[in-house]
C-alpha cells in the first residue's frame, strides 16, 4: 500500500469512526411520550422562552397562581450539543440537579434537557436561569410545565408529552403523531386547550398542526415566539372525543422542525363525576442517536466507485 492510499484509508476511517468527543449527527430523536398525567383541582401552566439569542445567562420568568406546585418540569431545548457541554439551571436561585447529559439529542445536536423543578417552583413569579458552556450553541428557551393544585380551582385533567422528534428530509420523518391513550370524559367539559412547543420552524414554510383531524393552524412553526422557537396554545374544546384523541404535527414544506412538547388540558365544571387522581409522573424517553448518517456512508462509497470509473475511463482513452 502506498503512502497516499494509506492516508486516504486513514481519512476514511476517521470520517466513519463514531466521534467520541464532539457532537455529531444524532438521528431522528425520539417521539413525544407521556411524561405526566392526572386529574386535580387546579391548573396546568406551560410556556417560557424567547428563542435562540446566545445570551449567557439566559433568563425567563414564569408566573404561577396560588396553590401547591405538585409537578414542575423544565424542558430546555438547546442547539449544538456536544459531550463536553454543561448546562446549569437555577429556579429562584436554587440549582436543579441534572444528569450530566441531555435526555434526547437529534439531528445536528438539537438537545432536550429535562429538569425536575417540582421542589423549586412556587406560586408567584419564578426566576428561571440557564448558564451554559456550549461552543456555537445555546438554549432556545426555558419551557416550564407546572401543575398547581388548588381546591378552589376547577377539576382539571391533563396529559403532558415531551420528546424531540426531528422532522426533516434527512430523517425521512414527515409527521409526529401523539396519541392520547386514555378514555376522556366529555360530559361537563368546559374547556380544553392544547399547548405545544416546537423548535426550528421557519416563517413561510407551511407546516400543519391538527387535533383529531381538525386543522389548528398552518405555518404554526414560524419562529414567532423568538428565533427558532414557537410556543402556542389552542382551544380544542369542540374537537375533544371520548377516545382516540390525537395531535398531529405535519412537517409540510418545513425543511426542519422539531416538535418538543404537547400538553392537553381539560377543565371540567363543578359536580362532574370525574375522579381526582393526583399526578402520575412517567419516565421520559432517552435517545442519543449517533453514528454516521447513511448519506455520508453512501457518498463515500459512491466516491470510491466514481474514482474507480474515472481511473479506468481515462486508462481506456489513453492512446
Amino acid at each position: 500500500m502506498t503512502r497516499g492510499a494509506a492516508a486516504i484509508a486513514l481519512a476514511l476511517l476517521l470520517l466513519l469512526a463514531p466521534p467520541a468527543a464532539a457532537g455529531e449527527w444524532r438521528g431522528a430523536g425520539s417521539p413525544l411520550a407521556l411524561v405526566a398525567e392526572g386529574t386535580v383541582h387546579g391548573t396546568v401552566l406551560t410556556g417560557g422562552g424567547h428563542g435562540y439569542t446566545s445570551e449567557n445567562p439566559y433568563a425567563e420568568y414564569a408566573e404561577l397562581p396560588a396553590g401547591t406546585v405538585t409537578f414542575a418540569r423544565l424542558s430546555v431545548p438547546v442547539w449544538n450539543y456536544n459531550e463536553a457541554d454543561t448546562l446549569d439551571v437555577l429556579v429562584n436561585g436554587q440549582a436543579l440537579p441534572w444528569e450530566g447529559a441531555p435526555r434526547i439529542v437529534s439531528a445536528w445536536g438539537v438537545a432536550s434537557y429535562l429538569f425536575d423543578a417540582s421542589g423549586a417552583a412556587r406560586p408567584g413569579t419564578n426566576a428561571l436561569e440557564a448558564r451554559y458552556v456550549n461552543e456555537n450553541g445555546g438554549p432556545y428557551g426555558l419551557y416550564l410545565t407546572a401543575v398547581v393544585e388548588n381546591q378552589t380551582m376547577p377539576l382539571t385533567r391533563f396529559f403532558v408529552y415531551e420528546g424531540n422528534a426531528a422532522l426533516g428530509p434527512a430523517t425521512r420523518l414527515d409527521r409526529e403523531v401523539v396519541e392520547v391513550d386514555a378514555v376522556v370524559e366529555t360530559e361537563g367539559l368546559v374547556n380544553a386547550t392544547l399547548a405545544t412547543m416546537q423548535i426550528a420552524g421557519t416563517a413561510g414554510e407551511r407546516d400543519r398542526l391538527l387535533f383529531n383531524d381538525h386543522l389548528l393552524g398552518e405555518d404554526v412553526g414560524r419562529a414567532k415566539t423568538g428565533p427558532y422557537l414557537d410556543v402556542d396554545t389552542f382551544d380544542v374544546t369542540p374537537y375533544v372525543n371520548a377516545t382516540g384523541n390525537r395531535v398531529v404535527f405535519e412537517r409540510g414544506d418545513e425543511t426542519y422542525i422539531h416538535p418538543f412538547a404537547a400538553a392537553l388540558v381539560l377543565t371540567y365544571a363543578d359536580g362532574t363525576g370525574v375522579p381526582g387522581t393526583g399526578v402520575t409522573v412517567h419516565e421520559p424517553g432517552r435517545s442519543g442517536g449517533g453514528g454516521v448518517p447513511l448519506p455520508v456512508v453512501g457518498v463515500l462509497l459512491l466516491c470510491v466507485a466514481g474514482a474507480g470509473y474515472l481511473f479506468f475511463d481515462r486508462r481506456r482513452r489513453r492512446p
Partner: protein, 365 residues
C-alpha cells in the same frame, strides 16, 4: 520635593474625578439594550425588518447616587409604531399603550437597579436603513423633591435585503453567461465530458454531504476556528475540481450540484440559498477566466481561488444573506472575523489543494 509630588498627585486625582462628577445628570442612570442578545455575536442597536418574532428591549435604571429614590415612573416611547409585547418579568405592572411602555418602581436604594423588558416587532419592511430612537423618561422623588431624567437611545431598522436572494441568482448567472460569451472564441471554452460531470458530481457530493457532516460534527473541537474544518476542505476540493476538469463554469456547476445534493439529503432550501452558492462559483470561474485559463496550474492561483471563495462566500453570508434569509444582523467585527477565518481557510486549502490536484492529475492514466 516629596510634598510637591503629593500635591501633583492630588491635583491629578482631582482632575480625574471632577469631570465625572460634573457629567453626572442626577442620581438615575438609564441604559437601553436593543436587541437583548449576545452582543459579541449580534449587532447592537440594530433591528432587522421583517422578523417573525419580537426583539426584546431592556431598559435598566440604576440609582448611582447616595440617596434612595422613590416613586420612580419609567416611560419608554417606542419608535416607528412598532407593536409592543410585555413578557413575564420581576417588575410588576408593566403596561404598553399607544406606543409607550410604562413601569413603576416604588423605591430604588443607592447602588440598586431595576430592569424593564419588553418586546418590539420590527416593521415588516423598510426601504432604507431607518433610524429608530427609543425615548426614555424617568420621573422620581429624591428626598421628597421631584426630578426627571431622560435618555434617547438611537437604533436602526435595516431592510432584510430580500432582493439579495433573488438578485444574486440572476446576476450571478448573467455574469457567468456574459463571461462565457466574452470568451467564446477562446480555446478555453469546451464542453463538459462525462468524466468531467462525474468528477464534479463526486466532489459536490463530498462537499455537500461528507464535509458538511464532518464540519458539523467536529467544529466545536477548534472553538472559534471551527469554520476552518469546512473552509479548508472546500478550498481543497474546489481547487481539485477546477484543476482536473479545466473548463469554465466548473466551480459554478460544482456549487450548484452541491446545493442540489444538500437539498436532497439535508433539506437545504434551494431557492433561498441558490444565489449564495452560485456567487462563490461564479467568482472562482471568473478568476480562472481572467487569469487566461489558469485552472490552479500555479500554487498562487490555487491560493487565490481559496481566498476569493472565502471572501465571497462568507462576506455574502454574514453581510447579505444572514439579514435577508435569517433576519439576523451580525456584529460587524464578528462578520469580518469570520471572513478573515474563511480567507485563512482558503489559503491553507488552496495550498493543500494545489499539491493534491497535481498529484491526483499525475496519478491519472
Amino acid at each position: 520635593m516629596r510634598g510637591a509630588t503629593a500635591a501633583l498627585l492630588l491635583l491629578l486625582a482631582a482632575a480625574l474625578l471632577v469631570p465625572a462628577a460634573l457629567a453626572a445628570d442626577g442620581p438615575l442612570a438609564i441604559t437601553v439594550e436593543v436587541p437583548v442578545k449576545n452582543q459579541q455575536i449580534y449587532a447592537a442597536d440594530t433591528l432587522v425588518a421583517g422578523t417573525s418574532w419580537d426583539e426584546r428591549v431592556r431598559v435598566t435604571v440604576s440609582n448611582t447616587g447616595g440617596t434612595p429614590i422613590s416613586d420612580l415612573e419609567v416611560r419608554v416611547g417606542v419608535p416607528l409604531g412598532m407593536p409592543v409585547s410585555v413578557p413575564q418579568q420581576p417588575l410588576p405592572g408593566v403596561t404598553a399603550e399607544n406606543g409607550t411602555v410604562r413601569a413603576m418602581v416604588p423605591s430604588l436604594g443607592p447602588g440598586e437597579s431595576a430592569n424593564l423588558t419588553f418586546g418590539v416587532r420590527p416593521p415588516a419592511s423598510v426601504e432604507y436603513r431607518t433610524p429608530a430612537v427609543f425615548e426614555v423618561t424617568a420621573t422620581y422623588l429624591v428626598d421628597g423633591a421631584g426630578q426627571t431624567t431622560t435618555a434617547s437611545h438611537e437604533t436602526a431598522v435595516v431592510p432584510p435585503l430580500s432582493w439579495v436572494t433573488y438578485g444574486t441568482i440572476g446576476s450571478s448567472l448573467l455574469v457567468l453567461v456574459a463571461a462565457v460569451l466574452f470568451f467564446r472564441r477562446s480555446t478555453v471554452l469546451t464542453r463538459f465530458s462525462t468524466s468531467d460531470l462525474v468528477t464534479i458530481a463526486l466532489i459536490a457530493a463530498l462537499l455537500g454531504v461528507v464535509f458538511r457532516w464532518f464540519w458539523q460534527t467536529f467544529n466545536d473541537l477548534l472553538g472559534p476556528f471551527g469554520g476552518l474544518l469546512f473552509t479548508v476542505p472546500t478550498a481543497v476540493l474546489v481547487v481539485l475540481a477546477v484543476h482536473l476538469v479545466r473548463k469554465p463554469g466548473t466551480a459554478t456547476l460544482l456549487f450548484f450540484v452541491q446545493e442540489l445534493v444538500a437539498m436532497v439529503v439535508w433539506g437545504t432550501n434551494i431557492l433561498l440559498w441558490l444565489g449564495w452558492y452560485l456567487m462563490e462559483g461564479v467568482a472562482v470561474d471568473l478568476l480562472c477566466l481572467v487569469l487566461g485559463g489558469d485552472y490552479a496550474d500555479r500554487r498562487a492561483t490555487a491560493v487565490g481561488i481559496g481566498i476569493i471563495r472565502g471572501v465571497v462566500s462568507y462576506g455574502a453570508f454574514y453581510f447579505l444573506f444572514a439579514p435577508a434569509v435569517w433576519h439576523i444582523a451580525y456584529a460587524p467585527w464578528y462578520g469580518f472575523l469570520q471572513v478573515g477565518l474563511a480567507v485563512l481557510g482558503g489559503v491553507i486549502g488552496g495550498w493543500i489543494g494545489y499539491s493534491t490536484a497535481v498529484k491526483v492529475r499525475g496519478a491519472m492514466p
